[in-house]
């Protein structure tokens, strides 16, 4: 038997804080596909809050920290296109002028993948045994879609989930209005965007909204809840790993705990 693939999980700060189940779902999907998974403890965040606020020095310091903590693995897998895109598309640029780490940053970028694209594009054995009874719609989170080319991969895997029907929005590729600090710096514009998104989601008739990025999920789940919608919101990994019984939809409580 071939050596197992050694994967390090970059949990992401939002999964760590809000939704640990997504981290465990990622581990399950990776282990089911034959990987051994390690979670380096020296991780915090990918640095986007600093990078996107123009704070290059702190962004670089955090990037160097990630480059060092994730050096010794075959692959680094991230359950987020946004954080994955930061490491893959932006670290090499950010650290290009630092001779000591520039090459390591490029090497890390080459080994880093967003979870769903890793399962489909790299492992190429997406046998999904999960079951989910519902009609779902899938939001293409921007960074994953445009920086990493994630579009068909999640749909490909969701098609294997028994009981699940996928219904597309009119504009699944239009931003939900999260944008990191954007949503609190320009709340009115963000609200307009997420309201339009909620209308598009509701118009599909789906009972479940799926997406691969926690930031977008918190934003859309928060808006749908405020609008009184009963649509269940989940990270796509929870469904693919068959872990939807482990935790209530985002922003909800399990019936037995309420």
């Amino acid at each position: 038997m071939a050596e197992p693939v050694r994967v390090a999980l970059f949990v992401t700060c939002l999964v760590d804080l809000f939704r640990p189940t997504v981290g465990f779902a990622a581990i399950k999907l990776l282990e089911d596909a034959g990987c051994t998974v390690t979670v380096p403890t020296a991780q915090t965040c990918c640095g986007q809050p600093a990078y996107n606020s123009g704070d290059r020095e702190d962004a670089k310091a955090i990037a160097r920290q990630v480059v060092a903590a994730f050096a010794d693995f075959d692959y680094v897998v991230v359950p987020s296109g946004s954080c994955g895109g930061m490491i893959k598309a932006h670290y090499p640029l950010l650290l290009a002028e630092e001779p000591a780490v520039a090459d390591d940053a490029k090497a890390l970028a080459a080994r880093t993948f967003e979870l769903i694209s890793f399962l489909v594009d790299v492992l190429k054995r997406p046998d999904i045994a999960a079951r989910y009874d519902g009609v779902a719609t899938y939001h293409d989170a921007c960074s994953g879609l445009r920086e990493l080319g994630i579009k068909d991969q999640p749909r490909h895997l969701l098609a294997q989930v028994s009981g699940l029907t996928l219904k597309e929005m009119t504009t699944p590729e239009v931003c939900c209005g999260f944008g990191g600090t954007f949503c609190v710096k320009y709340p009115e514009i963000s609200d307009k965007m997420v309201t339009d998104k909620a209308v598009d989601i509701a118009a599909t008739g789906a009972d479940t909204l799926l997406c691969g990025d926690m930031g977008c999920l918190l934003n859309m789940a928060g808006k749908l809840a405020r609008l009184g919608s009963g649509i269940r919101v989940r990270h796509v990994a929870e469904v693919l790993a068959g872990m939807t019984d482990d935790v209530a939809p985002i922003g909800h409580v399990a019936p037995d705990k309420a």
Partner: protein, 475 residues
């Protein structure tokens, strides 16, 4: 035009509450992207054409001086004149001097964004020359005393009822109770009114989509034919163009035109593509007696060789505006100056300063849709980020945001401390939110909770649970 970019938030607030504007923007948000997508689906080689277009612009920017001088030489050879202007003021004064030399009372104008940039209309009017916009959208915003809200569709923020109202108020020569319900009727009325203006004008001013170095020609594209009447009928044709509009050959312009129309309106080609070379020759049956090109730098050369140079590839197709969810939400006027949307967010600070325009590169989610549709593949998000870095270095942002970021960064650089804080935060928020699973309000988070609920954390942080699991497994 006095910029109001520093008031972006207030401008956006007004726009979000404007029912007519929201109705108009709702239509443009779907209309333009659908048309572009269809046009590109019909052209499998679109991406290769993009590469060709980019190569042309890069070649020009590398040898801008050479192509501009070649252009000038060929304009002179065909009997025209070139006027080099370093800034907006020189450009305005040059145009006024040309009008005065011809004793011009009225000038007709084709659509030109650089004319907006140098604020030409107000200046001409203040000096006794009446400018008349002849592009329908430009004409509408002119009679409403507004500015264009979009670089190719100036009146896109209006609905037809508003246009009818403005026509009724302005065109008092017609019966007040006439029917103006249909767009067609509005077009016909504008055509009737403008026809007299075309015939009466002393000077015609147009912009230029491209300047051709090898022939000394200028090119404009329109869908209304107003540009042709503007430049052919009067005694003189004045072309306003910023210096990066020059391309080496007609063939190069053809490549860029194929990209431009598809990216802009989803057309294969604009209805009218007009190439002007010099003044009327003896054998010509019509044409202007004089042909002047006013070449405007106004900050362009300062961008060469710097981190914003790629912006000079822009061909003003407006695809980035048409696909931007922020532009689509608030419209162009919220940006507070001539250029709006993603291209405006990058270009405006170079022209009026980051102190005035600081909001613009910040009001983006970095969704990247602009770059993905830009025919010139201009890295707009990257350049907005570059502006943010400059603002941060100059300490221009709000103090509270800077403090918050500094505290967060302090922890993010110390994994052990961060783990402790994150574990505490998940625990506390998880407990507080356990009954409903979400918060309707949270201290210090009104920016979020005024608009939407905040989902509560599950309970323990991932790192806490992971450590517990590892410990158990080790036993």
């Amino acid at each position: 035009m006095q910029p109001t970019s520093h008031d972006f938030k207030a401008n956006a607030h007004r726009a979000l509450g404007d029912k007519n504007l929201q109705r108009a923007m709702g239509m443009m948000r779907t209309g333009f992207p659908e048309k572009r997508a269809m046009a590109i689906a019909r052209m499998p080689e679109f991406d290769a054409l993009r590469d060709d277009g980019i190569a042309i612009k890069q070649q020009v920017l590398k040898h801008l001086d050479f192509y501009l001088e070649t252009f000038e030489k060929n304009v002179i050879a065909t009997g025209g004149q070139v006027h080099w202007c370093r800034n907006a003021q020189e450009a305005r004064e040059t145009v006024l001097a040309l009008c005065r030399a011809l004793d011009a009372k009225t000038v007709t104008k084709g659509k030109s964004m650089v004319s907006e940039e140098i604020a030409l209309n107000d200046f001409l009017e203040a000096n006794g020359v009446v400018p008349v916009e002849t592009d329908l959208g430009e004409y509408i915003v002119q009679i409403r005393h507004e500015t264009p809200s979009h670089i190719i569709a100036p009146a896109v923020h209006l609905v037809k009822e508003q246009v009818a109202e403005s026509f009724r108020a302005t065109h008092t020569q017609f019966p007040h109770d006439r029917n103006l319900d249909e767009p067609r009727t509005l077009c016909d009325e504008a055509r009737t009114v403008l026809r007299e203006k075309f015939l009466a004008a002393d000077v015609g001013i147009t912009g230029a989509n491209f300047l051709i170095a090898e022939t000394g020609s200028s090119i404009i594209v329109t869908n209304e034919g107003n540009g042709d009447l503007t430049q052919i009928l009067p005694r003189a044709h004045i072309v306003l163009a910023s210096i990066e509009k020059v391309v080496p050959t007609l063939e190069d312009a053809a490549t860029l035109l194929r990209l431009l129309a598809r990216s802009a309106t989803g057309q294969e080609f604009s209805t009218y593509t007009t190439i002007s070379t010099g003044p009327r020759r003896e054998t010509d049956t019509d044409g202007p007696g004089q042909y002047h090109v006013v070449l405007i730098d106004n900050g362009r050369t300062a961008l060469l060789g710097g981190e914003f140079e790629d912006m000079l590839r822009c061909i003003r197709c407006a695809a980035c505006l048409n696909h931007c969810p922020v532009y689509g939400a608030v419209g162009g006027h919220a940006y507070g100056w001539v250029y709006s949307g993603p291209m405006g967010a990058v270009l405006t600070p170079t022209l009026i300063g980051i102190e005035e325009a600081g909001h613009l590169p910040n009001a983006s989610t970095f969704c990247g849709r602009c770059e993905s549709v830009c025919p010139m593949r201009i890295p707009l998000p990257r350049m907005m980020r570059a502006w943010r870095a400059r603002e941060f270095a100059k300490k221009l942002g709000p103090k509270t945001a800077r403090w918050g970021l500094a505290i967060w960064a302090y922890a993010a650089k110390r994994p052990a401390l961060y783990r402790t804080m994150s574990a505490m935060a998940s625990r506390v928020l998880g407990l507080l939110g356990r009954a409903r699973g979400r918060f309707r309000s949270l201290p210090l988070a009104s920016g979020w909770t005024d608009m939407r609920d905040m989902p509560a954390p599950e309970g323990k942080s991932f790192m806490t649970l992971w450590a517990e699991q590892q410990k158990k497994a080790a036993r």
